[in-house]
């Protein structure tokens, strides 16, 4: 058993899911390498401030301060017992080898088992002006504040859906930044109808009520059931235009916009590791298929928001659960009572999540109104009109085909920003169910790779001939 357990496990990601997975594995004798992109563990949700910053955990993480401190403490204990590789991006997986990108260069790392806890990122929907300087994703706006105590503007409009919308607006207010308003695309009635399901995690529902009350008390305008029409400005944001439920157009002066329509799993590595994805109807996004206990593919496990968007508390639980699955596959019997506890807690959070999804439907219909000249893929400067014309001409039924025909999703971000919006556009225009048009495939390198670092890894005989043959001076 000891020998089996000493085989090498790599955990990718050091948010709540990765930390809890690594912790459970180390406690049971596994030899673990913990890799993450940030300088310190914590992930995005519990991101630690840079050295020299002195804000308290309460200031940084609010109601989640205790959880954040617990995860940080667990990470601190863990680092002494694992091979810890911060500031490192995994950009490819081939068979049982990870390809790493560190500041010092490219390296490979083989694994016997892999736990992916790669987290999530914002979903955005294009509207005129969304690529103006001063428009940030909602999560990005929160990170700026949490990490480096920066506000994205002096007078910020918050646009989108979900509990994060009110939370970030509340955090900006508390930090002393100007909040121009909260523009929630979901109507009050929609939220009210979903309330019973949200009571399965009543403390989270109650928090939302508190944030709203605080914002109202500070005279921050809160709008519900709005449709954002455009962001105005020349070179920077000057105003946001919305249509209110009564049909009137409302304009608010602002110098920054935080835009977010929920989260999407960062599932590219899971796909490269052989996992399948499946459509999640409530969130209109793709999640990673697993066996109910975090098994994605042979010797590949997954946890946290990188698998399914359930939030930080669930991430700790799914991280531990994925670790137990791995240990079980290596012959260790997991404690039944603990697994039952995890499953019960997760059930409650999943119910809460379905309530949230019902309360904050992704307003994809607003794409129908977006003018042709609006940018869809900002990396490749593909407009919504380009995509519409391509769809009409070639009648593609798959988002990867549309990508091939009009370049949307081909740029630096590999379609992370425009992928879901492109799929919605295709589905609407062709009259196809959204799940049938698929999603952009994850491909290596999942993040950009510097030429010079790649060149260093060339085979010696090729490097030798390239340098000898190309770098010399030639007489004319």
């Amino acid at each position: 058993m000891a020998e089996m357990n000493s085989r090498h496990v790599v955990v990718v990601g050091a948010g709540p899911a990765g930390i809890r997975a690594a912790e459970t594995l180390v406690e049971h004798g596994c030899q673990v390498t913990l890799i993450h992109e940030g300088p310190a563990p914590g992930g995005q949700i519990y991101r630690q401030q840079p050295g020299g910053f002195r804000r308290s955990a309460r200031t940084l993480y609010g109601d989640d301060a205790d959880r954040a401190v617990n995860v940080h403490d667990a990470a601190a204990r863990l680092i002494a017992r694992v091979a810890h590789i911060p500031n490192c991006t995994v950009w490819n997986i081939v068979d049982k080898t990870l390809y790493l990108l560190k500041e010092s260069g490219i390296a490979t790392l083989s694994f016997d088992s892999l736990v992916l806890a790669t987290g999530a990122m914002d979903r955005v929907l294009p509207l005129p002006g969304w690529t103006l300087p001063g428009v940030f994703s909602l999560g990005g706006a929160q990170i700026a504040l949490k990490h480096q105590a920066c506000a994205i503007g002096g007078r910020v409009a918050f646009v989108g859906i979900g509990p994060l919308l009110y939370l970030v607006a509340f955090q900006y207010l508390k930090a002393g930044a100007g909040v121009a308003g909260v523009f929630d695309t979901s109507g009050f009635g929609t939220k009210l109808a979903a309330l019973p399901r949200m009571m399965s995690a009543a403390r989270y529902a109650w928090r939302g009520v508190r944030y709203r009350r605080a914002l109202r008390r500070a005279d921050v305008p809160l709008f519900e059931g709005v449709r954002p029409l455009r962001i105005d400005g020349q070179g920077s944001v000057t105003a946001l235009q919305c249509r209110l439920p009564n049909g009137s157009t409302h304009s608010v002066a602002c110098d920054a916009v935080a835009l977010g329509y929920g989260l999407q799993a960062e599932s590219q590595l899971a796909q490269l590791a052989g996992a399948q994805v499946q459509f999640e109807t409530g969130q209109r996004t793709w999640i990673v298929r697993h066996d109910g206990a975090g098994r994605l593919a042979p010797d590949v496990y997954g946890a946290g928001d990188g698998i399914a968007i359930l939030g930080a508390e669930a991430a700790e639980l799914t991280g531990e659960r994925a670790a137990w699955s791995l240990l079980q596959d290596r012959g260790l019997k997991p404690p039944a009572a603990r697994l039952r506890h995890i499953d019960r807690a997760l059930d409650r959070l999943v119910r809460f999540r379905t309530g949230l999804d019902a309360a904050f439907p992704v307003p994809v219909r607003q794409l129908e109104e977006v003018p042709d000249e609006t940018i869809l893929c900002r990396c490749e400067t593909v407009t919504v009109g380009d995509a519409r014309r391509t769809i009409d001409r070639f009648q593609p039924r798959d988002v990867n085909r549309l990508k091939a025909l009009c370049r949307t999703g081909m740029g630096r971000c590999q379609g992370r920003i425009c992928g879901l919006a492109t799929a919605e556009l295709l589905s609407q225009r062709m009259g196809l169910p959204i799940e049938s048009v698929g999603r952009l495939r994850g491909q290596s390198p999942v993040k950009p790779l510097p030429f010079t670092l790649a060149a260093k890894e060339a085979e010696p005989r090729i490097a030798e001939e390239a340098i000898r043959g190309l770098a010399r001076e030639v007489a004319e």
């Binding site: 030429f451 060149a455 390239a466």
Partner: protein, 382 residues
């Protein structure tokens, strides 16, 4: 649901060769049905490098390549779109004296076929291409070569073929085909059945799957030429460029946005899953040659890699001509990683073969029977 369609010609395979054949057959007013398992140009035809070159072609390929060139230069007239086709010139460069002699020889050969080319000295290279490393000792430029967007070319040609009446069925996988002495019957997974007196096998790397149903077998190997692309680069690189180094080519071109596409090496193929897998080491080797050749790349990123599956023959020449076992079956496959430019002429030749029984374009180098062994008689039909 079963459906039987009668046609003059049935084509299996919706890549460059198949779609171009459908185009030219439809242009002659004949009824043609094309069956494609996925989308048109799903594999190498749609995700290749996009080079449109005569430069460096073997003597055997020159007539076909030059015929294709005439089509390319009027692409918009023929298919109603330029598909990003640009006459930018194609330049072969080298750091090796022996390679230079090969280029000189090629240039003379090409001249005999009426293809103009220009041999460049180091000084000319430096004046025209200041971004290029000083190790390059010479090159051969074919000014009327260029590049096009492979993702658009074949799908656009398919639209043009459809406008002329070609029946192009995507997502229609062939499960069996047979010949009853008069007609071919091709059955598909969707229930569609096509009957036609003439048939074209244009299935690229999968072509043996059709050929073997008629007792033929070819030494075709799947290849997946690997591509990668940079972020937009400020330096301007006009021609499409090939450099042979350490026994393999690095080929590259810059697109309008400024990104540079590179190709080098071949990855791994899963023919059943229709997937091509990229080998990281090919990207490393390519990056090494590229950064030494184009110092301006330093500081920039690789943003994407990809590949598609093609079929390669042992002598790198395609198979193009009549089957040796069954009448009125034309094979057009095995383009060995350089069939994109040839595509328009390939289809024209296929149309002539199936409709007229012969073509004026010399295709001797692509003889169907050239790999036949003693056990497999060379001319069963003769």
């Amino acid at each position: 649901m079963t459906e039987t369609v009668h046609a003059d010609v049935v084509i299996v395979g919706g890549g460059t060769a198949g779609v171009s054949s459908a185009y030219h057959i439809a242009q002659r007013g004949k009824r043609v049905v094309l069956l494609e398992r996925g989308y048109t140009a799903s594999q190498a035809s749609g995700v290749n490098f996009g080079g449109v070159r005569t430069n460096g072609r073997t003597e055997g390929e020159m007539p076909l390549s030059l015929r294709a060139k005439r089509f390319w230069h009027k692409l918009n007239d023929y298919i109603g779109d330029w598909c990003d086709f640009r006459i930018s010139g194609h330049l072969e460069i080298t750091h090796d004296e022996k390679e230079m002699q090969v280029m000189e020889k090629w240039s003379r050969m090409a001249e005999g076929h009426g293809q103009v080319s220009e041999l460049l000295t180091p000084r000319q290279l430096r004046e025209r291409y200041p971004w290029m490393s000083r190790g390059i000792i010479g090159g051969c430029l074919v000014p009327d070569d260029g590049s096009a967007n492979p993702r658009l070319m074949v799908p656009t040609m398919a639209l043009a073929a459809r406008r002329m009446g070609a029946d192009i069925r995507e997502h229609t996988e062939v499960i069996s085909c047979e010949h009853d002495g008069i007609e071919f019957t091709v059955a598909t997974k969707t229930g569609l059945s096509v009957r036609a007196p003439r048939m074209v096998n244009a299935c690229g790397a999968w072509s043996n799957r059709i050929a073997s149903q008629f007792g033929e077998e070819f030494p075709i190997e799947p290849i997946t030429p690997q591509m990668l692309v940079s972020e937009p680069v400020a330096v301007k690189i006009d021609p499409v460029i090939d450099l042979c180094l350490a026994g393999r080519y690095l080929y590259f071109r810059q697109v309008e946005r400024g990104n540079i596409l590179f190709g080098r090496g071949s990855g791994k193929v899963d023919l059943d899953a229709c997937r091509a897998y990229v080998f990281p080491v090919n990207g490393f080797n390519g990056s090494c040659v590229a950064t030494n050749l184009i110092p301006d790349l330093r500081g920039l990123n690789i943003i994407r890699t990809w590949s598609g599956i093609d079929g390669a023959m042992p002598d790198s020449e395609p198979i193009l001509g009549f089957s040796q076992t069954v009448p009125n079956l034309v094979h057009a496959f095995g383009f060995s990683g350089h069939g994109f430019q040839l595509g328009p002429a390939t289809g024209a030749v296929v149309a002539e073969l199936v409709l007229d029984g012969r073509t004026a374009t010399p295709i001797e180098a692509f003889r169907v029977g050239r790999f036949a062994t003693a056990e497999q008689p060379d001319r069963k039909l003769a």
